[in-house]
């Protein structure tokens, strides 16, 4: 849910990175954090287990610049991907303005991808959102690994709605900013429409 503040001339939006465990959601945020100028970002918070698995969420506040005198700020969140953290995932989707689905391109993770998309659809619906209408982009991550599905296959399985889709290698940044820009743009366009 966006927050428009006329007093401080700010627009704040919330973007959530969703996907199965170990698909690279946190890595996306870490790359964005590492490559963003200090004045455009806040502190990145990771609520993680001792083994660096996301326990509750990662959080990264970003400033994208101004539109007609309004500072645009995006709050990026990740959800914990592991199946049993579903209660936490639901909470993080509250008030979401846009979703990035990070898919793991490896063939053996296809079922986990599908399960996660379905879980996203159900959890969004519980909050009153429709996955078919919300600003949404898909990222096919881990394109550098050997045993990966083709983009056509991933598209057919994960992106039947044909939303913007990007190939990515999150640790090196391939596709990371393209994905972020695409979802941010969709969110702003939705705001303009009065969504």
């Amino acid at each position: 849910m966006s927050f428009i503040n006329y007093s401080s001339r700010e627009i704040n939006c919330k973007i959530v990175y969703y996907g199965p465990g170990l698909c690279g959601k946190t890595t996306n945020l870490q790359y964005v954090y590492a490559k963003t100028a200090p004045e455009a970002k806040g502190k990145m918070i990771s609520l993680a287990t001792e083994t660096e698995r996301t326990l509750f969420f990662d959080f990264l506040p970003l400033s994208l610049g101004e539109i007609r005198g309004f500072k645009t700020r995006f709050h990026l969140y990740t959800v914990p991907g592991q199946v049993f953290y579903d209660a936490s995932r639901k909470l993080i989707l509250k008030g979401v303005d846009g979703v990035v689905f990070v898919a793991d391109s490896q063939i053996e993770r296809m079922e986990a991808n599908l399960e996660s998309v379905e879980n996203l659809r159900v959890n969004l619906a519980e909050q009153g959102y429709d996955l078919n209408r919300i600003p949404y982009v898909v990222q096919y991550n881990k394109r550098d690994l050997p045993n990966i599905a083709t983009v056509e296959e991933l598209h057919r399985l994960i992106n039947p709605r044909t939303v913007p889709e990007y190939q990515a290698v999150a640790p090196t940044g391939v596709g990371v900013f393209d994905t972020l820009k695409a979802v941010a743009k969709l969110v702003l366009t939705e705001l303009k429409r009065g969504g």
Binding site: G42, I45, I67, G95, T189
Partner: protein
């Protein structure tokens, strides 16, 4: 989709005034008001050295997690929470069902005083947020963002 929160100058001034007064009346170090989704609405007191953005996000995460726990045991929510530290303590209170009033205080104040003052401030804030909700729901209250163009959005990403 749920409409977002829109804050106008007038209401912002009123809200800031209430937070300033609460800071004084409760002998608090910092008072801040956070949207349940983690957006900081107002901060008062010694907030300069605090990372208020992170505070806002973690407050919302905490309130959401406690809300989830409340539902599991058959409660609607836990409207008030208190966390006691060695030197500083933190009191959180849900206002008007959608924002969280957070007070950080030390030994110069007490939980009793904070609770008393928060209750009064919470009632005043509730009235303002109810008014804001009505203002936003009024017919003709179009998206305040409607006048921007596709070019404006494109320009943001051209750099």
């Amino acid at each position: 989709m749920n409409p977002g929160l829109v804050m106008y100058e007038e209401e912002f001034r009123q809200i800031s005034g209430i937070c300033d007064r609460l800071t004084r009346d409760a002998n608090a170090k910092v008072v801040f008001l956070v949207d349940k989704n983690g957006q900081l609405i107002a901060a008062s007191g010694q907030s300069q050295n605090l990372d208020t953005t992170s505070l806002a996000s973690l407050t919302a995460g905490n309130v959401a997690a406690m809300g989830g726990l409340a539902k599991l045991i058959g409660e609607k929510e836990f409207p008030n929470q208190f966390h006691e530290g060695e030197r500083e303590s933190l009191h959180m209170s849900i206002v008007a069902g959608r924002v969280v009033l957070v007070v950080i205080f030390d030994a110069k104040s007490s939980l009793g005083l904070v609770r008393l003052r928060v209750k009064k401030a919470g009632e005043e804030l509730s009235r303002i947020f109810d008014h804001l909700a009505k203002k936003q729901a009024m017919p003709g209250a179009q998206s305040p963002f409607a006048e921007i163009t596709d070019d404006d959005i494109d320009n943001l990403f051209s750099g």
